[in-house]
């Protein structure tokens, strides 16, 4: 397991030190997969490298499997090669001068006390079989495709049975289709092996597929932490909502409460009020998050008249499994909605859009 407490990392810069991580804390329980999700520059990779020992934290504490490996204030820093970790790099870092077998065997060969040859051979064979590269043990590293390199990298990280598996955007160098396939395989393998894992990515779908818990990072902070469902369903900041999906973000204000935990909202550009769950008091500036999949598009006025917009379809994109509609509301915002392909919608049609769910985010929280 991994515990990170108050991690701070600053780099020296031209005009003084630049703080990249501004005091973050999180814990990964044994056997769980934890993702750090965020845009480039948010500090997620630096965090991973601090945990690995490739960077030294400026302050804060890192504890792996019960041992403190880094505590700047107490002057503790265990070098990278002494930490019980396995790491998969973004560029895979497969050594070109070794073949597949030797690449994977390397951690066992450098281990002291020495691992007997027989044991090395069997452990390497096992882990290669696990990643589906069993038949390629003799192949030179320079002849591997991207996907194959990735598997070898994973095998190499796992062969020494690490207490913590670190993955630095391992899928970002693959093409889209391969990425989806590998994502599922990786999720399955990690779950099967049961190793504690820290996964860094900017891709929401990856994080959601692989991780038990996610920390969304921005500008060196953890902005929200939780299960994929929690983060997706109840984003605490509009930044998160935007980052996670092509949400509709409507600015507005709480008009007045109208029930326990429910309030009427005045949304810019909309006539009438919308009613959604929120505990924010009247007058609070808010953002309303409407997910495209929660917007029901009908050609006739819906029976339940709450949270309904009237508008016209500006544009339709046929994506195969869904139709994406861009709907312009009269005198109001533009909404993105998805509908089933059978819906027989066309551009220019007058439609009603009913929001079946929505999340209210108080502006000063974001």
């Amino acid at each position: 397991m991994l515990t990170v407490s108050n991690l701070v990392k600053a780099f020296p810069g031209k005009d003084g030190p630049v703080t990249v991580i501004e005091g973050i804390s999180f814990t990964i329980p044994e056997g769980r997969c934890y993702a750090l999700l965020g845009p480039s520059g948010c500090g997620k990779t630096t965090t991973l490298r601090c945990v690995a020992g490739l960077e030294a934290a400026s302050s804060g504490r890192i504890e792996i499997a019960g041992t403190v490996v880094s505590d700047a204030d107490a002057g503790i820093f265990v070098p990278v090669h002494a930490r019980p970790i396995g790491m998969v790099f973004q560029s895979y870092a497969i050594w070109p001068h070794l073949n597949v077998f030797e690449n994977v065997a390397y951690p066992l060969r450098v281990e002291r006390p020495r691992v007997p040859k027989v044991e090395i051979a069997s452990r390497v064979a096992d882990v290669l079989a696990l990643v589906g590269m069993g038949a390629m043990a003799d192949r030179p590293a320079t002849q591997l495709s991207g996907g194959q390199q990735q598997r070898v990298a994973l095998a190499r990280a796992l062969v020494r049975r690490p207490s913590l598996l670190l993955l630095d955007e391992p899928l970002s160098n693959l093409d889209a289709r391969l990425r989806v396939t590998m994502r599922n395989e990786l999720a399955e393998m990690v779950a099967r092996i049961g190793v504690t894992a820290l996964y860094v990515t900017h891709d929401q779908a990856e994080a959601f597929a692989l991780a038990d818990r996610i920390a969304v990072m921005n500008a060196g902070h953890i902005v929200q932490e939780g299960t994929p469902r929690e983060i997706y369903g109840r984003p605490r900041a509009s930044f998160i909502a935007e980052f996670l999906g092509a949400a509709n973000l409507l600015a507005g204000r709480v008009a007045e409460p109208c029930g326990p935990g429910v309030a009427r909202l005045a949304i810019e550009g909309c006539n009438g009020h919308l009613v959604f769950e929120t505990t924010a008091p009247a007058g609070t500036a808010i953002d309303l998050v409407l997910r495209p999949e929660h917007l029901v598009v009908t050609t006739s006025r819906p029976a339940n008249a709450a949270n309904v917009f009237a508008g016209r379809i500006d544009k339709i994109s046929f994506l195969g499994n869904v139709i994406e509609c861009v709907i312009g509301v009269e005198g109001g915002p533009t909404l993105r909605a998805v509908a089933a392909p059978e819906a027989e919608l066309q551009e220019g049609m007058a439609v009603w859009v009913r929001a079946s769910a929505g999340t209210v985010i108080a502006r000063d929280e974001s």
Partner: protein, 585 residues
């Protein structure tokens, strides 16, 4: 229907031409460029071969009495001195100095590129210093530093140790020669190795760390094997270049009774009686070529392996720097020591000598310092002529080589045609031709061909231009990082081949062409053998003027000139540094 089918024009199969986007102009330029390149290299080579087979020694190779004969070859290869002295001495000299220069050069490159050594920029420029100065000047400076009786270093050491008499350092030994040649070769090695280091993916070493290997183990198991092809290639190159050296072997080696190949060639060219023995000299030079070809073949194999090890992403890796910690002071001492021996002390001696002559250093002597030598220099019209010639010749030849070499590199990389590998190899062979022979060949060639460039600076430009290999390699390296699709996109946008080259390829290659230009300019300024052989009253250059002033006995003036040559080239090196940085290795 059948008519319609027959009416369709029958198209010729798609030719290579279309794949490379060459139109008529393009073909003209490429063929012309390749022809120029081949001529610039083939002419000296042919001349060398022919000269070796012409005799007897009383006749010059092109005179009516000369015939085809194996006399020269027999005379050279049956002489016992070849096997007893020349070959062993040359082997020891080359291997010794290359080993030493590589050890020092690699350490310096590592410290500058991979650690947090303070003052890296300054060190980089200082380390390159010996490259700027004609080797002959360095040799003389080192003799005055390490001569057994009166060398400055020996004076200092004797004072420290309280001994008297000679030594402890005697530069006039094989060891002294090896050390001096190594000092002179380090900058070249340094440049090549820093480039290799820059192309190594740092993740490879980090992955080793995360796999549990200590830094030392990582170095041994990952860094060295991965870098090895990138190191072997420069190693072979430096061996070839060292074989050709003759300045240091003649100044330091001869009193030390060291006989190397290169010196033997000059020896044949400077008999007391009669004419230079061109045939004999060429016969001695032939094994250079053969050895050179063999080494180049090995080089090609090694480089191909090296290229597989490098992920060509088109950008240099941002290297994470190793903190030196308590190794900081020893590292600084090491770098400082090289810079002192290779740059600062020779420069100090030159400045001192230009003001005072070669008197031993003392405070009393300082009183007699004067700028008289500089005044004499500036008053000499030859100086201004030499300055003008040097800049023109170095600049023009660097430009020609960069462009022709660049074109050749493009041709070799982008086009497929029979004989491509042979042409590639052939272009690289130009490195295997010693300057002495090249100069000789050019001289004989242009005395025979009725183009009136003999004795002018034009002939120097042509002679310098045979060093195509350097810029061809650099162009290929630069082009490899340039994705073919960029050129194809230009073609798809309707641009003809020439436009694509001018608008897309050249600007993107700018960085590597520029660094090629700068490197070749520096090489051109310090070129000594070629302009010496092709010397005429009007085409004197600074390095030759330097030698003549030396020989005329005006040591202070020579030292003043050497100081000025350095002053001329230092800003060029600063530019080179920036160009190399931008080219990303």
């Amino acid at each position: 229907m059948a008519d319609a089918a027959r009416a369709l024009p029958r198209r010729a199969p798609v030719a290579v031409r279309q794949q490379s986007g060459l139109d008529l102009w393009g073909r003209v330029v490429v063929v012309a460029g390749v022809a120029v390149a081949v001529y610039l290299i083939a002419a000296p080579l042919a001349m060398l071969l022919a000269t070796a087979l012409r005799g007897p020694v009383e006749f010059l190779p092109f005179e009516p009495g000369a015939q085809w004969t194996l006399e020269n070859l027999v005379a050279v290869y049956t002489a016992p001195v070849l096997y007893q002295r020349i070959i062993p001495d040359t082997l020891v000299f080359v291997l010794g100095s290359v080993a030493l220069s590589f050890t020092v050069g690699f350490t310096l490159a590592w410290l500058v590129e991979r650690t947090d050594l303070p003052g890296r920029e300054a060190w980089f420029t200082l380390i390159l210093f010996p490259l700027l100065v004609p080797t002959i000047v360095l040799g003389i400076a080192w003799v005055f530093l390490m001569g057994p009786k009166a060398g400055w270093l020996n004076l200092a050491l004797r004072a420290l140790m309280g001994t008297s008499g000679e030594g402890p350092i005697d530069v006039f030994t094989m060891g002294g020669l090896i050390v001096c040649q190594a000092l002179a070769s380090v900058p070249f090695v340094f440049i090549l190795l820093t480039a290799a280091l820059r192309t190594m993916n740092p993740s490879l070493e980090e992955a080793s760390g995360t796999s549990g290997a200590s830094p030392l183990t990582t170095f041994r198991r990952v860094t060295v094997p991965v870098l090895l092809p990138g190191i072997l290639a420069p190693l072979i190159l430096v061996c070839l270049v060292t074989l050709e050296q003759y300045e240091l072997p003649s100044i330091i080696g001869v009193p030390a009774e060291v006989n190397v190949f290169s010196y033997r060639i000059l020896y044949e060219l400077n008999p007391a009686d009669g004419l230079p023995n061109y045939g004999g000299a060429a016969a001695v030079a032939l094994p250079f070529l053969v050895l050179g070809i063999a080494l180049l073949a090995v080089y090609n194999i090694v480089v191909r392996r090296a290229e597989k090890f490098v992920t060509v992403t088109g950008k240099a890796y941002i290297q994470r720097r190793l903190p030196l910690g308590r190794w900081r002071v020893p590292a600084l001492v090491f770098v400082g020591l090289y810079v002192v021996m290779g740059a600062l002390l020779p420069a100090a001696i030159l400045v001192w000598a230009s003001l005072l002559g070669y008197v031993p250093p003392s405070l009393a002597a300082l009183k007699t310092a004067s700028f008289a030598a500089y005044h004499r220099l500036f008053a000499d019209p030859n100086f201004w002529l030499a300055l003008r010639n040097t800049v023109i010749v170095a600049g023009a030849s660097a430009l020609i080589i960069s462009l022709v070499g660049g074109l050749l590199g493009w041709t070799l990389l982008r086009l497929r045609f029979p004989g491509r590998t042979a042409l590639d190899f052939f272009s690289f062979m130009s490195i295997g031709i010693p300057s002495v022979i090249a100069g000789l060949a050019v001289m004989l060639l242009y005395l025979t061909i009725p183009i009136g460039i003999y004795g002018t600076f034009m002939i120097l430009i042509v002679a310098y231009s045979y060093r195509l290999a350097v810029s061809t390699r650099l162009a290929k390296a630069g082009l490899m990082q340039l994705h073919r699709e960029l050129e194809e996109a230009s073609a798809a946008s309707g641009a003809r081949w020439m436009s694509t080259q001018l608008r897309i390829v050249l600007p993107l290659l700018r960085a590597s062409l520029f660094s090629s230009f700068v490197l070749l300019f520096i090489v051109g300024v310090r070129e000594f053998t070629l302009p010496l052989i092709l010397n005429g009253p009007d085409n004197i250059v600074l390095s030759v003027l330097l030698w003549k002033v030396f020989q005329n006995g005006d040591a202070p003036q020579a030292a003043a000139l050497a100081t000025l040559i350095i002053a001329l080239v230092i800003p060029v090196v600063a530019l080179a540094r920036r160009a190399l940085m931008r080219a990303g290795g």
